[in-house]
């Protein structure tokens, strides 16, 4: 397919438990097994194995950018349709504020345990990605101290 790389294309993120995102996006970045892969409209057909990293979906019509942490899976791009198949996905999408904070706190604990050598390196890497995802999606971490947050 030949054409300009500007415009939108369909993106779906699928897991065995359901569809996490189905939208028309302008740009998608996925963590390939050997580095990040950026996809724009009219991309050539592509079949790619994914590693551990962030899936960033940008320029979505009618909503803000979306971000997911995936650990393995596949991406298929063909005919302006991109499907990401993933088994292990973490996201703040459709999550209550309390749940998101609990996930962030858990990620911080994992990183702390990892620095003492008491956590699985993959889990530590995943926890770091969760913190990056929080920064990217604008989920503000609650200060760790008991003092109230500044207004």
């Amino acid at each position: 397919m030949v054409g300009w790389a500007t415009g939108v294309f369909r993106f779906v993120l699928l897991t065995p438990h359901g569809k996490l995102l189905d939208c028309r996006a302008g740009s998608v970045v996925v963590p390939g097994h050997d580095g990040q892969i950026g996809v724009l409209r009219n991309h050539a057909p592509l079949l790619c194995k994914l590693g551990l990293g962030l899936v960033r979906v940008e320029e979505i019509a009618g909503r803000k950018n979306a971000c997911f942490v995936v650990n393995g899976g596949f991406a298929r791009v063909s005919e302006n349709h991109m499907a990401v198949l993933a088994y292990d996905v973490t996201t703040f999408e459709e999550m209550e504020e309390g749940e998101a904070q609990a996930l962030l706190a858990q990620a911080r604990d994992t990183i702390a345990a990892g620095s003492r050598g008491r956590a699985d390196p993959t889990e530590v890497q995943k926890a770091r990605l969760i913190l990056r995802m929080a920064k990217y999606t604008g989920v503000e971490p609650v200060p760790a101290t008991d003092e109230p947050a500044p207004a």
Partner: protein
């Protein structure tokens, strides 16, 4: 005719049973709806997986992979997915019958079966039939987490790669639609059977316009297939557990609805019986009074 007190006791018992069965029906129908939503939303995942599998196996240069090759070992693994609780009609019974067929076939063709189970009720039924069980997966209630599925599948794939077993199959109740569920066997390994099953039940339209050769591959086809095979096995096992839980809850909803209807019918019948007994008792008492009055009048 039974005494009125006895009838009242029976009616109270029937009423209590009716309440219990109605509650079980409500609980199962809520769970059923949750699982059904998951099942419907997961269809697209399996369809896309089927498309990928179809693309890879229809490539001009056939892909060679250890999980595609047949093995000559005599052992076979059977994972039987049943329920932890009873009261769901013939759900566990049908699975037991299917396992019986596998055991007989294995005996006939000189194969050894390694049976893995999930579900206390089913495991108990299989033990009663003296079917040896290698291991019972009881770490989760109904549907395992991705990590638990990974642990289960990795063991099976390892056994197949090491040529210790020649086949890995799952016996479960497949959920075709809310009107049709059936106990059946799905072969997970060797892969051709699983790919066959995935592609034939997919809801996508075949054949696809694009061919495998049109795609840019990263990494090589063999490595992609290796990852895809693992994903397919895990997703298939996860799907089996989900469909089994879905069928179990639907079976329980139907069984409990029938039980509630029967209890209501029994309550009605016992109420009629009680009224008849009460009237008979009153008539008897009246006759006694009249008889006594007549005797006193003489």
């Amino acid at each position: 005719m039974a005494g009125t007190r006895h009838i009242l006791e029976r009616r109270a018992a029937a009423r209590n049973i009716g309440k219990v069965t109605h509650t079980m029906e409500t609980v199962s129908s809520v769970r059923y709806r949750q699982y059904f939503r998951m099942w419907v939303e997961g269809i697209e995942f399996y369809d896309t997986l089927a498309q990928l599998a179809y693309l890879i196996v229809t490539s001009e240069r056939p892909i060679e992979h250890p999980l595609m090759e047949t093995r000559d070992a005599t052992r076979q693994i059977l994972l039987v997915i049943g329920s932890n609780r009873g009261l769901c009609g013939a759900y566990n019974g049908n699975l037991c019958r299917l396992v019986d067929v596998h055991v007989r076939m294995a005996k006939r063709f000189g194969r050894e079966l390694e049976v893995y189970t999930h579900g206390r009720k089913l495991t108990h039924m299989l033990r009663q039939r003296r079917i040896p069980i290698e291991r019972e997966f009881d770490e989760f209630d109904e549907v395992p987490t991705p990590d638990q599925v990974r642990d289960i599948c990795d063991g099976f794939v390892e056994a197949y790669r090491a040529n210790r077993v020649s086949r890995v199959a799952v016996v479960y109740t497949r959920f075709f639609s809310p009107a049709s569920q059936k106990a059946q066997t799905l072969t997970i390994l060797p892969m051709p059977d699983l790919i066959d099953d995935l592609t034939t039940r997919a809801t996508v339209i075949w054949p696809w316009e694009l061919a495998f050769e049109d795609f840019i591959l990263s990494p090589s086809a063999e490595e992609i297939f290796d990852g895809l095979a693992t994903l397919m096995v895990r997703a298939a096992v996860q799907g089996c557990f989900l469909e089994a839980a879905l069928s179990e809850h639907l079976g329980r909803v139907v069984a409990m609805r029938n039980a509630t209807d029967n209890a209501e019918e029994m309550i009605e019948q016992l109420t009629r019986e009680y009224n008849r007994a009460r009237q008979w008792q009153i008539t008897n008492e009246l006759l006694d009074i009249v008889g006594g009055a007549l005797a006193a009048g003489k």
